[in-house]
């Protein structure tokens, strides 16, 4: 269409989305930012206190713990999940009977509600009724506090997160592998490259962008982990297994320290914005996501 559309028609098309988005998305972000600068809590009013909430977060041992936990889960997930799901995608590319069905099964956990994922894993990790301790019992290993105790919970959460994400990451890798130009692969095998050499010098370099994108997606998802903590440990004992989001939820809604809660929300926001930016730059360069 080469003529200027009439303003009222444009307005009619744009307004519903624009108003909904502004009122329930942009305005809330601004509101959260504003609240993070006040001492709002419980039923009391809100006074402007500048950056005090942010400074107080630095002193808050629970907040620091939630940061270390999130980073721990992040490191574990990226170091294990990316190679594992990539390997799995390579495996699924081989001649395996009913590979399509296997891929569908592996992807399954990605569509199960995170809250249900948490519940399912309670039955595996629970020190009393969990499958894992029942399996270890015959080996003479005493019950392990996978989720109830103080030290193992973040690791357990990482394992559950990996379980829930591996099929999803595998699927993206698999899609990427299928888009690799067949000629290049054939040429390299004609040139006498071994399978390992082919993987090391042809496949992986050509998959670099996909690897980057999968890693970034996993990073954003790690910073969103909430339901798993909520179901598995409730953040406890004494906030030792909180992640950033679960601690934000606790501070805001349970403890009703709205000002501090929104300061944590803003930290999550900045991390989210930065990873999205990295994602955009990366996927703009590559043709595949």
């Amino acid at each position: 269409m080469v003529w200027v559309s009439s303003p009222w028609k444009i307005a009619l098309m744009v307004f519903p989305a624009f108003i909904l988005f502004t009122a329930f998305f942009i305005y809330p972000v601004v509101y959260a930012g504003g609240y993070s600068l006040t001492d709002a809590a419980g039923f009391s009013g809100a006074d402007f206190i500048g950056l005090d909430n942010y400074l107080a977060l630095g002193e808050d041992p629970f907040f620091r713990r939630s940061v270390t936990n999130t980073l721990l889960i992040l490191v574990l997930s990226v170091t294990f999940l990316v190679p594992a799901s990539f390997g799995l995608a390579l495996l699924m590319q081989q001649r395996v009977r009913a590979a399509g069905a296997l891929r569908a099964l592996l992807f399954g956990p990605a569509i199960v509600a995170p809250i249900l994922v948490g519940l399912v894993w309670v039955f595996i990790l629970d020190p009393r009724v969990g499958l894992l301790n029942h399996l270890l019992e015959p080996l003479g290993i005493p019950p392990v506090q996978w989720i109830g105790g103080d030290s193992l919970a973040p690791y357990s959460i990482a394992v559950v997160f990996i379980w829930a994400s591996v099929g999803f990451a595998m699927t993206i890798f698999y899609a990427g592998l299928r888009l690799l130009p067949a000629e290049v692969m054939e040429a390299s095998s004609l040139d006498g490259a071994s399978r390992w050499q082919q993987l090391r010098y042809v496949t992986i370099p050509m998959m670099r962008e996909t690897i980057g994108i999968v890693s970034l997606l996993l990073i954003t998802n790690v910073f969103k982990i909430f339901e798993l903590v909520y179901m598995l440990t409730g953040g406890g004992p004494v906030h030792s297994s909180e992640t950033l989001v679960s601690y934000m939820y606790f501070v805001t809604f349970t403890d009703q320290r709205y000002g501090s809660g929104m300061a944590i929300a803003m930290v999550v926001f900045v991390i989210g914005a930065l990873t999205s930016l990295a994602y955009l730059t990366l996927s703009r360069r590559g043709r595949l996501a």
């Binding site: 081989q94 592996l106 249900l116 309670v122 496949t203 179901m231």
Partner: protein, 308 residues
């Protein structure tokens, strides 16, 4: 970016479909398909890994048929399987109600969300603004939402719902779900609409079609694949969403599936069999629906990877 994402997801899906069904081996652009030495080992590894991934789900399904007292003492015993847990749970768990609530919320938010996103995307790509800058600014404005983790919105939206007097109703979550879906929907739709051939529209205009004719009868029907992706992605999101409902819905009669799941632990505190039966009853429909729409779900969600 997004359009490419969607395309790559769909093409890979199409190839899979054509590849695995046809009896004649179609030439697939596959990497490294020579020499299958230990084919058996490779297959065995693939099956073993898949089994391990599915194991947690099999496990709770198995336990849900056990008597509650043997779950603790001898979880592997298969002697006394029973349907009692299911009987008990079905009496106490308002399963139909939960699903009805979830479906109401999903249908309302996904229809409206897709419609308003389509309208704004059409305006941003197919209509000519007096000032082009407004158009690109608007697109940027809507897409900026992609960078925001929705958890940031929880508390402000809670306050907003209270202020608008919709707290604790279906609308309390429907409106935020629509708002949250706009950036991603717009991303996919504007990506798609940009490449739409203008000849079709021009022909329609020659035939005397007005704006709404073009929009709904000419453009919309061609967009079925991308709309399917969007609808699937949004429906899965609404079914799985927990943080918003946990705060914005306080009435048990309005509880969605994921909100109900979070309460199993409280409801069946010592009745582990009941808990597992309840979990299985929620899990199985989800997996059944997934099994039916599996290819589309995978394509939709890998396309939705942008939003995650």
């Amino acid at each position: 970016m997004s359009a490419q994402v969607a395309e790559s997801a769909t093409t890979s899906r199409d190839r899979t479909t054509s590849g695995s069904r046809t009896p004649v081996p179609t030439p697939r652009p596959r990497a490294g398909r020579r020499m299958r030495r230990p084919a058996v080992i490779i297959s065995a590894a693939a099956y073993l890994i898949t089994f391990l991934v599915v194991l947690p789900i099999l496990w709770i399904t198995l336990l849900s048929f056990q008597q509650s007292d043997t779950i603790l003492s001898d979880p592997f015993s298969l002697d006394s399987l029973t349907l009692d847990n299911y009987r008990n749970v079905l009496e106490t768990l308002p399963l139909v109600r939960m699903y009805a609530n979830t479906i109401i919320i999903a249908v309302a938010s996904v229809t409206v969300g897709t419609a308003v996103s389509f309208m704004v995307s059409f305006a941003l790509t197919r209509m000519v603004f007096r000032r082009r800058r407004t158009q690109s600014f608007l697109r940027f404005y809507l897409l900026s939402g992609l960078a925001v983790p929705v958890y940031v919105l929880l508390f402000p939206v809670y306050r907003l719902d209270l202020a608008l007097g919709i707290y604790g109703t279906y609308l309390a979550v429907v409106i935020p779900y629509i708002a949250v879906s706009i950036p991603f929907n717009t991303l996919l739709l504007t990506g798609f609409l940009r490449d739409f051939p203008s000849e079709l529209e021009e022909a329609a205009i020659m035939d005397g079609a007005g704006l709404f004719r073009i929009c709904w009868s000419v453009v919309l029907p061609t967009m079925r694949p991308i709309l399917a992706t969007i609808v699937i992605f949004n429906v899965v999101y609404v079914f799985n969403e927990f943080p918003f409902v946990s705060i914005l819905i306080n009435d048990p009669d309005l509880a969605t599936v994921s909100l109900a799941v979070s309460r199993f632990q409280g409801q069946y505190t010592v009745d582990y069999g009941g808990m597992m039966a309840a979990a299985t009853l929620v899990l199985l429909p989800q997996l059944a629906i997934y099994a039916v729409f599996q290819r589309h779900v995978i394509a939709g969600l890998t396309a939705g990877a942008v939003k995650g």
